[in-house]
């Protein structure tokens, strides 16, 4: 008869999160997420950035939290921590930060001394996020989005929620090193469809797919 062992249960492996957008080989692990690990030389590139922290905040449009965030509806700006604050709706903000920092972002918001009712929800695993970078980005988007994305109507540092390929999508203009770039995020269940639509319409523009690290957030 075997001797009873005193050891506890075998340690469970860390759970691995996956984006709703299928990853391409080779892959890497970033902050507990499986991500595509490749670069692209294309002038217009699409990257899946779903692992980025996404924190949704609701509060009064003209309250103390709105003053603390200091980003109005339809605008986007980075705070001192490098977190992109987007005014995604009236009295509604989405904060996008580095992967694995959703708890820190929510903690900083909770610590603000504001005398009003606010809601903070971590939507990191509930939304898909892609970055479309390149000068042809607006031309590409014009085939699936009815909003005028011209420089004077949607310059760098602006955001809006609209229909992209018939999917309700938050669209943020967030240029990278002077190159036109858009962040698009939508419900997780529509993420694969949205990315595939962008890839299909991007074929005519030589769209390349790059990985999480190559996109540089």
């Amino acid at each position: 008869m075997a001797e009873p062992t005193t050891a506890g249960p075998a340690p469970q492996p860390e759970p691995l999160a996956r984006s709703p957008i299928p990853t391409l080989t080779p892959t890497a692990i970033v902050a507990g997420w499986e991500v595509t690990d490749r670069s692209s030389d294309a002038s217009t590139r699409l990257a899946d950035l779903s692992p980025l922290a996404k924190v949704h905040v609701r509060a009064s449009e003209d309250g103390a939290l709105a003053a603390a965030l200091d980003v109005r509806f339809l605008k986007a700006a980075r705070d001192d921590y490098g977190v992109l604050i987007t005014g995604s709706g009236p009295g509604e903000w989405t904060l996008i930060g580095p992967a694995g920092t959703a708890g820190d972002i929510a903690g900083r918001l909770s610590a603000l001394d504001v005398d009003e009712r606010i809601t903070i929800v971590d939507l990191t695993h509930g939304r898909a996020l892609v970055r479309l970078t390149g000068d042809a980005g607006s031309t590409l988007l014009a085939t699936v989005c009815a909003v005028d994305l011209d420089e004077h109507t949607m310059p760098d540092g602006t955001c809006l929620r609209t229909s992209v390929a018939r999917v309700v999508t938050d669209l943020v203009r967030d240029d990278r090193d002077g190159v036109r770039s858009y962040l698009l995020h939508c419900e997780r269940s529509s993420g694969a469809y949205l990315a595939e639509q962008l890839r299909q319409v991007g074929e005519a523009h030589g769209l390349g797919v790059e990985g999480f690290a190559a996109a540089g957030r």
């Binding site: 509806f73 339809l74 709706g89 009236p90 009815a146 909003v147 809006l160 929620r161 609209t162 229909s163 018939r166 309700v168």
Partner: protein
């Protein structure tokens, strides 16, 4: 493309909006009998001409807005946030909802 100008977001494709029906005063829950509730919920005046309607910007700011529209020409007469002052043309349409001719 037919556009509606959202009071919060600006001009957008009408496909971003959901039609919410004719606007009308909500009955007082404390005193209303089932009959005015039924009229409020299920009947419309459907006038040929200016009418005040509620729309939802479901693919945008997710806010309700008030649209004054001529049903014969589909011309948008005015768009405002709920609670904003109605225009002169809209006052006629607002009174048309759920008229007493309905059974």
């Amino acid at each position: 493309m037919i556009t509606l100008s959202c009071p919060w977001c600006g001009p957008r494709n009408v496909t971003e909006f959901a039609y919410g029906g004719e606007s009308g005063a909500r009955p007082d829950p404390a005193t209303a009998t089932p009959q005015p509730w039924r009229r409020y919920l299920y009947t419309n005046a459907n006038p040929a001409g200016p009418v005040t309607e509620t729309w939802l910007h479901r693919a945008g700011c997710r806010r309700y807005l008030v649209v004054e529209r001529d049903t014969t020409t589909n011309e948008i007469l005015a768009i405002r946030r709920p609670g904003g002052a109605p225009s002169t043309s809209a006052r006629h349409a607002t009174t048309g909802r759920a008229t007493e001719q309905r059974p």
